[in-house]
């Protein structure tokens, strides 16, 4: 399609890459966090819960700024990771990290609700049949929370596709590296008469996210059907 320039195509590809990696990499942590919040009681649970919600509460710029301070090459975590070859600053990985963190509270909530809906009696039944905690989780709990995991993943993906403030503050806007769709859209909207170009990108954004949304619904329905009979 020639109604998008090469720079825009690059932004589209990058956005997809960032959103996918952000979603996939944060999913295990999301499940872990959701499990911890749903099933465990410990001192500091409220704190952890609050921490996870922080990116939702704070203006994205602030989150981006805090990311810069901690995960930047000079930040405590960034400096620690750098020798290991893990660099976030000005890389698409940083954009993915920002997107993942911004979407994390949404993901965790969805998965947590699913955990809370699992009947512990089924997990007990699995335990009496010889399944250790890990196996119970893998063979009973996880399949039963799959719809919630899907919902969480879709929320995370959608958020990652739309994330802008924290990303640009943390890793700025480098075409091909960190210029995601929202950054490109924002740039168009800053100049008079940029609305038409912005609209084109908005449409692309919508189409991509809708595709993910519909795919997730179809998948969720299939999972649900298997459980409900037939």
């Amino acid at each position: 399609m020639d109604w998008l320039g090469p720079a825009e195509w690059q932004a589209v590809a990058l956005s997809l890459k960032v959103a996918l990696w952000a979603t996939l990499c944060s999913l295990p942590f999301g499940i872990l966090a959701a499990h911890t919040l749903a099933r465990r009681e410990f001192w500091g649970k409220s704190l952890l819960n609050g921490l996870i919600h922080l990116p939702l509460i704070l203006p994205p710029v602030v989150t981006g700024y805090l990311l810069l301070l901690t995960f930047g090459t000079r930040g405590p975590i960034g400096a620690f990771l750098q020798p290991l070859g893990i660099v976030f600053a000005f890389r698409w990985t940083g954009a993915a990290l920002a997107a993942a963190i911004m979407g994390f509270p949404l993901m965790v909530r969805a998965i947590r609700l699913s955990f809370e809906a699992v009947d512990p009696k089924l997990e007990q039944a699995a335990a009496t049949l010889g399944a250790s905690k890990l196996w119970v989780f893998l063979t009973v709990t996880l399949p039963l929370i799959l719809p919630g995991v899907l919902a969480g993943a879709v929320l995370g993906f959608a958020k990652a596709m739309g994330e802008f403030g924290a990303t640009i503050t943390f890793v700025s806007n480098i075409p091909g590296q960190t210029q995601t769709l929202p950054s490109a859209i924002y740039a168009f909207l800053q100049v008079p008469g940029g609305e038409a170009s912005a609209l084109r990108l908005v449409l692309v954004s919508i189409v991509l996210a809708m595709g993910a949304l519909i795919a997730s619904e179809v998948l969720a329905r299939r999972v649900q059907k298997r459980v409900n009979g037939a």
């Binding site: 710029v61 700024y65 802008f164 800053q190 008079p192």
Partner: protein, 230 residues
């Protein structure tokens, strides 16, 4: 009378102080609304209750003038600013003649506001072009959605150098001004002001706009690092 001023966010401190002084002498209370120039311009187009608009960007003022949303007769450039190259920590100063940015940067990044969208970025790009540095530097530029974010990148050391307004550089101890771009290297940085056509308090707004151009007011702005307009 009470009137409302929509002003570029970078004017927050200076304009707040000026308005307090003005109120003491005139008795007119100004409600100050700060946001990005583009957002404010769009809102005025959509009928926002603004009496006076002070933009960081002549383009948006032009757009509003063409749309008939401001009174051209009242339009005036009230302030100016300078563009500077900053370095992290206490970087050694350079002169425009000896400036070799690629060498300075090495594999580091040059932090700027969006070079096609945000005024500071647009000015910066023009300056680098006229100094013959743009082509070499372009791939190394990290663009942010506003000048302050670019400043933050340099302040944290994430980027060794950046281009910001003189007003921003002055108050940040983590950065030093390496070079001030010559006046002629970029279009003049001006903050145009104008009274809106829908103004409920055109007299008070006009009075304030006029007062801003008096030496008393300009002294206040100068203290915040701004230069005289026009």
């Amino acid at each position: 009378a009470d009137f409302t001023v929509f002003a570029a966010a970078s004017l927050r401190d200076a304009l707040t102080e000026a308005a307090t002084v003005h109120e003491a002498s005139s008795g007119d209370h100004a409600t100050l609304v700060f946001a990005g120039s583009s957002a404010l311009a769009r809102q005025i187009e959509a009928g926002a209750p603004a009496d006076l608009f002070v933009s960081a960007n002549t383009d948006w003022m032009d757009t509003l003038e063409q749309a008939g949303r401001i009174d051209p007769a009242t339009r005036a450039d009230v302030l100016g600013n300078a563009l500077v190259l900053i370095g992290h920590g206490s970087a050694a100063p350079v002169t425009p003649d000896t400036l070799d940015l690629p060498a300075l940067l090495g594999d580091g990044r040059l932090a700027m506001a969006l070079v096609n969208a945000v005024p500071a970025g647009i000015y910066g790009r023009a300056a680098l072009e006229s100094l013959g540095q743009w082509d070499a530097v372009a791939p190394l530029v990290a663009q942010t959605d506003n000048v302050r974010a670019a400043l933050a990148l340099v302040a944290t050391g994430e980027a060794p150098y950046g281009i910001v307004y003189a007003t921003d550089a002055a108050a940040e101890p983590q950065v030093s001004v390496v070079m001030t771009f010559p006046q002629g290297s970029h279009p003049p940085i001006t903050y145009p002001g104008a009274v809106t056509t829908d103004a409920a308090q055109p007299q008070a707004a006009t009075a304030f706009l006029t007062w801003m151009q008096t030496p008393q007011a300009q002294a206040i702005f100068a203290r915040h690092g701004f230069t005289a307009g026009g």
